[in-house]
């Protein structure tokens, strides 16, 4: 077995891994190694050729490749090392070695002072949401289709129905249209748009693609290739109203029905998983329940903006470097984050108490859309942070900054309360 040593090993060379690597290096870690399964760095952004990245971080609108290229440049300048075409099989029982395959070196063991999980997420499938019907060719997740079209020079179909109004679904509607396919409609189960309004305008409205809110695909038809789908409106319980089912002809169906953190390696390593986010539970250092293992980006919770991923990953990289150097702040006990009214999950899931004037940005999603709300964080009876928001929406991440020094108890509850 080929052996490599480093201070910080980072699993995944996408936006999360790259930002973590750069931050670890800046923090003083001597040897930082990214382990990437693809043949290039950049992760999913390699196929996200559309603009919309980097507005908060760089103040300009970049495409996916432009965004990650900036991090790759920084990483190389700082001397971050990386191995490509290397699939991590598992983290060894010692919790400090990563076992991966590599065609050139053979099976490889990377021994590290600390490990950062940055594997990203995967797409939910047609089967996850149990859409009945046949199993013909022509069913793709939106991301797989995006990869084929933008990276592999392969066109997936000519007449397309898209299920799910998330950003990837809408962006693929525009992409397919520009490449000459006809997108018949975008079908959305909820009564509101899952992605950004901007994408609705620029990806659907611009091309006259109908958006069917409160509808779903009830059946998939076709024995060899898809011949069409049945689409029906849903009632208030999201049950399809079958009397109103209609046949829609198409040869391709794209599914943009949600993302799930990719946590095979995390599970195998015995790291505690949050049942709501499906990612590892972390504290403000992005440290998991295994002290030598940190995590960041979509492996922890699915983000809407890569800019947030970069920021959060820099924290992971910084503290992973400190851990490897034996300089992580000492453990004074932690307070658990608890979801209150209209809060689906909170990340980080706990905050380590410290005598510090730092603030921890706690990210969360709401359960239901609401206007004119107050976000409140309570520790015991005391309100330790609050802010007003004009509008909250499950599709858009919120955050609230909590001063670490204000944490006295063992629980912090965050809630979203309608005002007035």
């Amino acid at each position: 077995m080929y052996n490599l040593n480093c201070d910080v090993a980072i699993i995944g060379g996408g936006p999360a891994g790259l930002a973590a690597a750069v931050a670890a290096k800046k923090q003083g870690a001597e040897k930082v190694l990214i382990i990437e399964r693809d043949n290039a760095l950049g992760g999913i952004l390699q196929q996200c050729i559309h603009p919309g990245f980097g507005l908060t971080r760089f103040g300009e609108e970049l495409t996916g490749p432009e965004y990650y290229s900036r991090f790759v440049e920084d990483a190389i300048k700082l001397g971050v090392e990386y191995i490509l075409n290397s699939m991590v099989l598992e983290i060894d029982e010692d919790k400090s070695s990563v076992i991966c395959t590599n065609s050139e070196y053979g099976l490889t063991c990377v021994k590290a002072g600390s490990i950062v999980l940055a594997m990203g997420c995967r797409e939910r499938t047609r089967a996850n949401i149990v859409i009945p019907g046949t199993r013909p060719a022509g069913l793709y997740t939106a991301g797989s289709a995006q990869r084929l079209i933008n990276r592999q020079n392969i066109m997936v179909g000519k007449k397309v129905v898209i299920l799910g109004s998330g950003d990837i679904g809408m962006i693929m509607a525009r992409r397919m249209t520009l490449e000459g396919a006809s997108v018949v409609m975008v079908v959305e189960l909820m009564d509101y748009l899952a992605g950004l309004t901007r994408n609705r305008v620029q990806c659907l409205d611009d091309f006259g693609i109908p958006l069917k809110l409160s509808h779903t695909i009830t059946r998939i038809m076709g024995d060899t290739r898809v011949t069409g789908v049945y689409v029906a409106p849903v009632d208030e319980n999201k049950k399809p109203i079958l009397e109103k089912e209609e046949f829609v002809e198409c040869d391709t169906v794209l599914f943009s029905v949600g993302l799930i953190p990719e946590n095979e390696i995390t599970n195998k390593a015995g790291i505690e998983i949050d049942r709501v986010t499906n990612g590892p539970r972390v504290n403000q250092y992005m440290q998991t329940s295994v002290p030598s293992i940190f995590a960041c980006g979509n492996v922890v919770h699915v983000n809407d903006l890569v800019d947030n991923v970069s920021t959060e990953s820099e924290e992971a990289g910084k503290y992973a470097a400190l851990y490897a150097m034996g300089k992580l702040p000492e453990n004074n006990g932690a307070a658990d984050m608890v979801t209150g009214n209209n809060v689906r999950y909170l990340c980080p899931q706990s905050i380590m108490k410290a005598d510090s004037d730092e603030k921890v940005s706690v990210y969360f999603r709401v359960l239901a859309p609401e206007f004119n709300v107050k976000l409140i964080a309570r520790c015991g009876d005391e309100i330790i942070a609050q802010k007003k928001e004009l509008r909250v929406n499950p599709g858009e991440m919120n955050h609230i900054d909590i001063p670490v020094s204000s944490i006295k108890g063992d629980k912090i509850t965050v809630e979203v309360i309608k005002e007035g």
């Binding site: 050729i49 609108e61 495409t63 432009e66 933008n150 990276r151 020079n153 309004t197």
Partner: protein, 118 residues
């Protein structure tokens, strides 16, 4: 001529009713802030978009070069530009920002590489 424009400046997504003719805006209703007025006016008079796609690379079958317009292009020129891009192929090596198609369709906009390759 009346047109309903959904503002994309912030996540609120105000529906703004714009009234006017081909060259000027007469009135706007439903905006939430000043930025909405500006957005809706531009969107009414001359809607423009950044175009992103990919081009073929000379002599390479299994990889593609992602490209973008260096400035927004008038919305109704997008398909015309795509026809040109479809016939274009890039020569390696390229750097980010290298011009792949100059002054595409007479729009004074260049199509540039968004990835370094080769």
């Amino acid at each position: 001529m009346n047109k309903e424009i959904i503002c994309t400046v912030c996540p609120r997504g105000c529906h703004i009713d714009v009234c006017g003719d081909a060259n000027s805006v007469a009135s706007l209703e439903g905006y939430g802030c000043k930025r909405g007025i500006e957005y809706a006016t531009n969107e009414y008079l001359n809607p423009v978009r950044i175009l992103t796609t990919i081009v073929k690379i000379d002599g390479v079958d299994n990889d593609l070069l992602p490209v973008r317009s260096n400035k927004p292009i008038s919305k109704d020129k997008l398909f015309e530009c795509m026809d040109i891009i479809r016939k274009t192929s890039a020569k390696l090596p390229v750097k980010i920002g290298d011009v792949i198609v100059e002054n595409i369709c007479g729009t004074d906009v260049n199509i540039v590489a968004t990835k370094a390759l080769g």
